[in-house]
């Protein structure tokens, strides 16, 4: 995979900050130039949100966070970057001026993306000396969670630039979608703008309130669009009669008075005030920070749900998350290879995800086993039993588990696990995990597991290969010097 080695972000608002967080969490160093006096604070808040969200999003090993620097000049920021992202306010004259400065100071081979929501790349690149490397890279808020980037080239943009841009988004977990022809607002914002204009009329004409309108979306087609968008959804609605029949049925509606879009609403002070007031009522006292938290938790949960879609293969943004995690495991799996033999292996670091808690904010019973299962998986990768090994037909299966609950993990709490290998032979692997509150280092739960090495297709135990056994025994031998953990060999209900 072709990776960005150094990014520069020009403009650090909500969108610029989102890009910065994406890059940093993917392990990429970022230089930021933004003369706004509050830029450091705003970017810091976006990064904090992103780190909170990523801790809940995935248990895969994120690379060490990139280094963040604010520079005094634009030239300093872009000098050695190979991806430069411009996210300054949406004015053509301003963007042209900033892009000219970038053009003058950047490496000739640097990719230059603009976050513009609607300006044409041909207009943006007009005055550049090297316009072939300029393209639109239009993301969606929150940039650190929503994967889409619309990639649009101008008349002078080279095909090689488009191709390189698409490739470099993959390792940061994003989905570059190439828009074939440039038009104002591209594809996403045109769709949004159409729906938005209709929505303004509905509020203006008192057909409904903003809360009713949002409810109409989120209890119905919003749930469909999160996974399939518009046309694939309608393909299903067409049923056995097929898409063409469905479309032919739809035709007459276009002549009906089902939209006021031939007219443009006047977004005057009265309408702004009406929407503002209704929006305040809808928020029911929730602050922007609280709404951001809820939005991110819901996005994390939805992405995780879609990861299980299509029978575990993943679907849409969930499939992308699955692929992102697989690349993280492939690259980060060896990170703990140099372990300290005097201690149990520290394998999982995570936070208690909103999807893991009950009404009281306590982690539910089976989520403890999920974290312990992830711990076993992390050990298995360490001894060479990774995805490729499993796909080749052999694996370790858990046949027996004993869990003790010693304390309570709560929503958002940082937790980590350790693994002690109790014993290993040709077919058996006996493990003891402990789950800790990271802040206090208090043990909250323990799990003892017996795993068997199996031939998955034949469905029977087989001896593990020497390469795996050697690695496992090396750890087990080091662990043999440690005292036996309290609780090993307990059965349920045994007196302490």
């Amino acid at each position: 995979m072709t990776r960005i080695s150094k990014a520069a972000c020009i403009g650090g608002g909500v969108i610029g900050g989102g890009w910065i967080a994406r890059f940093l969490l993917a392990g990429i160093d970022v230089d930021v130039f933004d003369p706004h006096p509050e830029a450091g604070r705003i970017v810091g808040e976006v990064i904090a949100n992103a780190e909170r969200a990523y801790a809940m999003l995935t248990g895969a090993p994120l690379p060490p966070r990139g280094r963040l620097s604010f520079t005094k000049t634009l030239a300093e920021a872009v000098a050695d970057a190979d991806w430069i992202q411009e996210s300054v306010p949406e004015r053509l004259d301003l963007k042209r001026r900033v892009l000219a400065e970038i053009d003058a100071a950047a490496r000739p081979d640097a990719l230059i993306g603009s976050s513009t929501s609607g300006l044409l790349p041909t207009d943006l690149q007009r005055d550049m000396k090297h316009p072939e490397r300029l393209f639109v890279a239009h993301p969606y808020n929150p940039v650190y969670l929503l994967p889409l980037v619309e990639i649009v080239g101008g008349e002078k943009t080279s095909a090689a630039t488009i191709q390189a841009a698409m490739q470099r988004l993959v390792p940061i977990g994003m989905k570059g979608v190439h828009i074939a022809k440039e038009i104002e607002a591209f594809v996403g914002d045109r769709l949004l703008e159409a729906l938005w204009r209709e929505a303004l009329w509905l509020i203006h004409d008192d057909i409904c309130t903003v809360e009713t309108l949002d409810d109409v979306i989120r209890y119905s087609f919003g749930l469909r669009w999160a996974q399939m968008g518009l046309f694939q959804t309608y393909r299903i609605a067409g049923g056995e009669a097929g898409m063409r029949h469905f479309l032919a049925q739809f035709g007459p509606c276009l002549a009906w008075p089902w939209t006021k879009l031939t007219d443009v609403v006047d977004l005057d002070d009265a309408l702004i005030e009406k929407i503002g007031r209704q929006s305040d009522e809808q928020a029911a006292g929730l602050s922007i920070r609280e709404l951001e938290r809820i939005r991110d938790e819901n996005l994390v949960g939805t992405l995780q749900a879609l990861k299980g879609g299509d029978g575990g293969k993943g679907w849409g943004a969930g499939k992308l998350l699955k692929e992102f995690e697989q690349s993280l495991w492939a690259e980060g799996g060896g990170a703990t290879a140099s372990f300290d033999p005097s201690k149990p292996l520290r394998l999982i670091e995570t936070k208690v995800s909103p999807a893991w808690v009950d009404y009281n904010g306590h982690m539910t019973e089976h989520r403890y086993l999920q974290v312990f299962g992830d711990t076993s998986d992390a050990l298995l990768r360490l001894i060479g039993v990774d995805l490729a090994y499993v796909e080749a037909g052999q694996s370790y299966y858990t046949v027996e588990t004993h869990i003790r609950h010693l304390g309570e993990a709560k929503l958002g709490q940082a937790i980590h696990t350790t693994c002690r290998i109790l014993s290993v032979d040709e077919k058996r692997l006996h493990l003891f995990h402990t789950l800790y509150d990271t802040a206090t280092n208090e043990a909250l739960a323990t799990a003892e597991h017996m795993l068997l090495h199996v031939d998955s297709k034949a469905g029977r135990t087989v001896p593990a290969p020497a390469a795996v056994l050697d690695k496992t025994k090396a750890i087990a031998n080091a662990h043999a010097a440690l005292a036996l953990p309290e609780g090993v060999g307990r059965h349920v209900g045994q007196k302490r």
Copy 2:
């Protein structure tokens, strides 16, 4: 809660079939009239999809399925119904004729909902003798999973009708949203129509393909809209500056050429063929049945994810699902109260959900514990430890668990669990659960649990009250006559 006691569905296509499935799975008897020769088959397929989806959606006890009858005449179907749902094709003359027939044959106090996507209720009720009971109840496909129903009254619709309609949707897990003023296409279809018209232009003008357009939606704002809709999302985007400031910024866009909606595309044969061909490519060989299955799995997963939103309190459609489940538990919790003391209690019946499986379609480790945890919860409700009990401050907490894996549960497989009470005293409850493949009755896993009765706030064990102990001991005494299950008291790694 006010319940529908008997429903009649006039028209049994995809939408009518969806209503029928909603009613039946909520335990309501349904009479259907549809002269179409294939109606029975189509409705049967929708019900099968709905049953598959519900088995994955919730572990809460669904009531016994309602009775489904196809009648020979419309009058027979509606005669004793208190909710009549009209879902015939979208032609005003046809709907008026059908509604007149319903009007003549229905009970005077019956509620009559029309599934129309866009016709005005005032037009629909024009010729009715009792027009005050007619309203639009516009659902979204698939009706058995998407909760929204737009409720719209005409000039002659009574306020009491609207209120009664909204109330009766609650026990079937739906969300009635009252639209204040009637307009063609109401709110949802106006928003859809606006976006649809813009989408047609984008395909017509070769800006992108249908797959690219769907990707733009589902990798970005589709994920936002599933949970918050439009305005609440923009409220967050406005950030600290607030909604009014955000709107003021948005104003100028309305004057920009960001939409072609002032013009209406001609959906001619060439455009229909283009979309049909691109849609075929996008589907990549997946049949409508396969796409339906994937859609429903993704909807189930998303609804479950939103159930965990806002720190476990539930958000949007997930909050609705949570409330629906709570009402099911409240009403169905006592269903197994008359148990057979000669056997372990059969408590959970479910299917292996797509969110529960790994890449190979096998149920993941921690999902076994989820089903066992649900089994413990079902037993607790049976002995009087329900939601109200827990909210009053006491509960049982699991402190120790031992799991044995004996076989493998696979995607979609029907499974059930039984519970044997091993022992009970003032503070301790010792349980042994078994998870079975329902088709073969093969034991796939067992779980032994120790639970303690606690005061949740004080965080310490307290004796359970006599009412709970009496119920528990009655079961435990009956179970004492059974042979001890194999595997009780095992520790991890013990020889068989």
